[in-house]
């Protein structure tokens, strides 16, 4: 414990920390936080936090699932599978997420009401809302970026491993899920934490298509009370805290995985 604290015990760091504490104190005392209890009590802040987090988790999981297929298609598929997968990754990585999101929400969303069988199907209840489009855009984005990473990771697994697996008589599927994928995931793991933080930082974009996430709540506070800085500062602190948790989680996860590679 004391060893962990030792780097902080240098004089200039103590001064910096004192300044930081003073800054926080000044922010707490002289800025206007009167709006905070209202928005906490009406549940808007918690609702926004919840939306942000489940958007992140859902798009992360779905995106990673698609990414594995995209990577596999590019690393091992025939050209008529590899080419569309590569095209998808290039388009996702080459255009702004905001544009993709607006394309899905305003473009697709404006098309659906004119198709009668969609209007009368069970999916219409969801397609009327904004969040499916936000989730879809975030998922595509994560799949596109991570698909490219997966391609490299799958290609990086030594070919001898796969040949050995086939020689043991494993089927192609068994080879994939026992030998190929686990080793590829191990290669992806160091970058996965960073990509997850990037994904977190993409989530506020869903506020631009009227999903009530954390960022949207801060904008509502501004619209209601004309208080500019306080909601944004609090928002920045909350995002920093979530980023810190993600970093810690992935550091822990990396320690769970044996690092010795063949």
């Amino acid at each position: 414990m004391m060893d962990a604290l030792r780097p902080l015990m240098k004089p200039h760091r103590l001064i910096l920390m004192a300044l930081a504490v003073a800054l926080v104190w000044w922010c707490a005392v002289s800025l206007n936080w009167a709006w905070l209890p209202d928005y906490w009590n009406n549940g808007l802040i918690l609702q926004g936090l919840w939306t942000t987090i489940w958007m992140l988790v859902a798009s992360w999981a779905l995106g990673l699932f698609f990414a594995i297929w995209l990577g596999l298609a590019q690393a091992a598929g025939p050209w008529f599978v590899a080419l569309p997968a590569k095209g998808f990754c290039s388009v996702i990585r080459g255009t702004p997420l905001l544009l993709q999101m607006w394309f899905l929400y305003y473009g697709l969303g404006s098309l659906f009401p004119y198709i009668p069988w969609i209007r009368h199907s069970w999916a219409w209840v969801y397609l009327r809302e904004a969040w499916p489009y936000g989730l879809l855009a975030l998922t595509f984005s994560f799949a596109g970026y991570e698909g490219e990473v997966m391609r490299g990771a799958l290609k990086g697994v030594p070919h001898g491993q796969l040949e050995a697996a086939r020689a043991f008589g494993m089927s192609r599927f068994t080879t994939f899920h026992r030998i190929w994928l686990p080793q590829a995931v191990r290669r992806v793991l160091p970058t996965l934490g960073g990509e997850t933080v990037l994904q977190l930082k993409s989530t506020p974009l869903v506020a631009t298509i009227t999903v009530i996430d954390l960022f949207d709540v801060s904008r509502r506070v501004y619209q209601d009370t004309f208080i500019t800085y306080e909601p944004l500062l609090l928002l920045a602190v909350v995002y920093m805290a979530i980023t810190g948790l993600i970093v810690l989680f992935f550091r822990w996860l990396e320690r769970q995985v044996p690092t010795k590679t063949a």
Binding site: F103, L205, T208, M240
Partner: protein
């Protein structure tokens, strides 16, 4: 052939919505693209300046400078760009005006372009600092020691030894960062900046041709990405002259 292509852009034809003069949106659309490029280039240049100062400061500066730059890069990279852009969008003109007023000058309205460039430049600078720092660290230490042993002053070591050698390590990261900067300009649409994405949304909204305009904007962004990928790949090959080849990725 050319006549056929230009006829496509006439009102009523396939690409009539993109005709140069109203009711076509061609001119507005390309102005948006120009704005996007202006902000990207400006913010990237500013990020480059901050990055060089930050990287050298973080590696060779005193303890205080090092810690301050660490705080800057950590905080900027941990908070969503959209939130930072919004905070800086309000804060930068405010701070400048308060400084001006305290010095006895009048308040000024800053040009929108300058605010956009500054806001995005501060964000890009943090990432650039890390890219350049990593690249400098990859320069063999013996090279820098040898240069010092020859009696070169620090600025000359940086100019003649560190910079040229770190360039080949830095260019892949710089290329990525340029693409990110270019895409991040779209975020300025949220604060009402008339760049390509907002122009597209306005054009799409008033013509109801959502698919058409968003697709066209996507094509423009893709062209920029592909072209700049090629340019960076060319410079990377140049800076790698005489080094063992590695496979460079082009988007």
């Amino acid at each position: 052939m050319l006549a056929y292509l230009t006829s496509l852009f006439e009102p009523g034809h396939a690409l009539g919505l993109l005709a140069w003069s109203p009711p076509g949106w061609g001119q507005v659309f390309l102005t948006g693209l120009l704005r996007t490029m202006e902000i990207s280039v400006g913010a990237y240049t500013m990020g480059l300046v901050i990055g060089v100062i930050g990287a050298f400061g973080k590696l060779y500066g005193g303890e205080v400078i090092r810690d301050l730059f660490s705080i800057y890069t950590t905080v900027v990279r941990a908070v969503p760009e959209l939130v930072e852009i919004l905070i800086l969008f309000y804060a930068v003109p405010n701070v400048i005006n308060q400084v001006l007023v305290s010095m006895g000058h009048d308040r000024i309205t800053l040009p929108q372009l300058l605010v956009g460039i500054t806001v995005l430049g501060v964000v890009v600078g943090a990432y650039m600092t890390e890219v350049l720092r990593g690249a400098i660290l990859a320069v063999p230490h013996g090279q820098i020691e040898a240069a010092r042993a020859y009696g070169m002053p620090p600025a000359m070591v940086a100019r003649r030894v560190t910079m040229p050698q770190m360039l080949m390590n830095a260019l892949p990261g710089m290329s990525n960062l340029w693409l990110n900067t270019n895409k991040d300009t779209a975020l300025l649409a949220v604060i009402g900046f008339n760049e390509l994405t907002l122009t597209t949304a306005q054009a799409a909204g008033s013509t109801k041709a959502y698919f058409f305009f968003f697709f066209a904007a996507g094509v423009l962004y893709m062209i920029i990405s592909i072209l700049s990928g090629r340019v960076f790949a060319f410079f990377e090959r140049r800076s790698r002259k005489g080094q063992p080849q590695i496979r460079g990725g082009v988007i």
